[in-house]
Symmetry: C3
Subunit: 262 residues, 3 copies
């Protein structure tokens, strides 16, 4: 891939140490399917998750937490309102927030909501190739929530989206790319079994939030989160006989990597 | 059991190959408890899950997906509206849909909702013995969401329900039965540990939807889905020391069976 | 710890045998994150879970079930109404109910709701040290949903809360304490890995409800539930390489303990 830099392991080690040491509190407003794996991934990786979702307290909690995750997987009108309040509070208190535009490009109402979120300028947007292509006005939509495209095909779209919304864009897949529109980092590794466990992508967005929480460089922090997930996936795949055994092995691997970086 | 045929393994092999090859997109509108296992079962088995639940987009997605699952486990009024819209869209676009009448016979409001769904004539209804007995106006209700009856006692009720609502009825338990009211197939195997892992029944209804997605015979497709689950349960039980280790082993076994049938 | 008694193993054995034999039906109204682990813990331990959450049927089901769990983790206004109806029905039919005041002390709206629940006099309140301290008007709040305090520091607060609301209070942590304000039982054991798996605390509150369902002594029943969890945690930790493998091992251990006590 032209004009991309491989994210160096040394930078990962520093970012991981920093994340684990600061034990960030991650405010997760995510979909109904991945609540448990999202919390478990954050706990294993050394962060602290909390799911506060009602409009009466989402803003209050966003002001307390160190970062915010917005995932539109099972969005409802009521949840949208609570999310907007949380985003405003996060911005007022200078907390980074991550948008996961699940199934972008597939359904009109969802796309309208996603664009309202994009206009609030998330710190980072993380999605698969089909999702990022659709944010740039390209692509033909994914296969439901799964990508129908290769991440390498979406790098140019990621750069466009990053420049248009003044955000960092991470497009994940066989190779992951993170870009601010000018500089583009790549992360290799991982295993295809990851795609057969629900929530590995959604929980990765939460991990990106955790890494960004107290970082000076959301670009590098995002690349570090992706690196941790790629490393854990490889370790887990080597110990698994299928997606069922991959899931606990993935959490154990995140935990082992976190402990190595204390 | 009189007047039932054992579903042949050869028919299972064909149906499984067909399902895995066509990689159906399953629109899941299911309860809050089993979201993750439902998605994981479909992914391991070779299908593609997506949970789209809001009334603004449930119809749009039902028209895109290959089949629809309606599970009333944690039904709310708002979810009911979104489910009705999805069912209408599935019917207009000739997509099969499966009803899982969780805890039928136990609570008046739920029973009213379930009968409204039944009157929309689902392609398949899958439940445990207590649930199917209650749909036929018999039985005394289950122990919460668990069956208080044996599946063999519910075969006659299943036939009645199938004829009354022009649907396929699957009653699952120690032996599974699938009937269109005239022809009744039986599936044996499985393991009692299955009953100690939440969502094995609910995710089975999702697997039935996946098998029916592009099938000419929903009767045989349903029997094939039940066979896959029974086989995976047996394999998983042989590798487990309890319900905790059964869960990942069950997913691994589904994955192994799917790969054998590509 | 002064003025506390170690809960004897012999009392645990009796209480566990009684719980498993009576197979209580536990009505769980809990948060979105821990639905699956809560159901799985109850099933493994020998009880029967059911999640019925809508205001149209929460009261009807509370009258059928043997006990009720109220957990405020992802509380919404609508859920609050349904919970109140369930509590009233549980009280009218003399069923015990357990309150889990997740993240008490952190957010104003949540605290208002928790105090409305407390005024309905739950049979048992189970929380971590930060939560119980906040109920007594002390402490500085936890780190999100995690405790920032040691359970030993909260024993006096637990006694105050117990006396003020005529309830049993369980404060769990490295050592667990259960008190009715006069008598205080302690339970040791467990493993720190428990804190890295989401829902081990929330599902413990459900297990407390199961033990209280048909017990003459909610104080001892609560201590017995905590003992079962501590024992299972120790067994699971000895077989785990991290929080991922701990989760299935914990369920297997609960299942093994339950079977030993049939």
């Amino acid at each position: 891939m032209n004009n991309t830099e491989v994210f160096p392991l040394k930078s990962f080690d520093q970012a991981c140490h920093h994340m684990v040491k600061t034990h960030p509190l991650v405010h997760c407003m995510t979909n109904d399917v991945v609540q448990e794996i999202t919390a478990d991934v954050l706990l294993a990786a050394g962060a602290s998750p909390a799911m506060i979702i009602d409009k009466h307290e989402s803003a209050d909690f966003a002001a307390i937490a160190d970062c915010l995750l917005i995932n539109v997987g099972t969005l409802t009108e009521e949840r949208f309102v609570a999310m907007q309040l949380a985003i405003e509070a996060a911005q007022k208190t200078n907390k980074p927030w991550v948008l996961d535009p699940v199934a972008s490009g597939l359904l009109p109402w969802r796309d309208k909501m996603i664009h309202q979120f994009l206009n609030l300028m998330p710190t980072v947007v993380r999605g698969n190739a089909s999702e990022i292509l659709s944010l740039a006005g390209a692509g033909n939509g994914g296969h439901g929530v799964d990508s129908a495209d290769d991440s390498r095909q979406a790098v140019s779209a990621a750069r466009q989206v990053a420049l248009r919304y003044h955000t960092i864009v991470a497009v994940t897949g066989e190779t992951d790319f993170v870009t601010d529109g000018k500089r583009t980092l790549s992360v290799v590794g991982g295993d295809v079994l990851t795609t057969l466990v629900v929530g590995t992508g959604c929980s990765l967005s939460a991990l990106v939030a955790a890494y960004c929480a107290k970082s000076d460089s959301p670009l590098e922090a995002t690349a570090a989160a992706l690196t941790m997930a790629k490393q854990a996936s490889e370790i887990a795949a080597s110990k698994s006989t299928g997606p069922g055994s991959f899931h606990p092995a993935y959490l154990d691997a995140l935990y082992a990597i976190a402990r190595e970086h204390i």
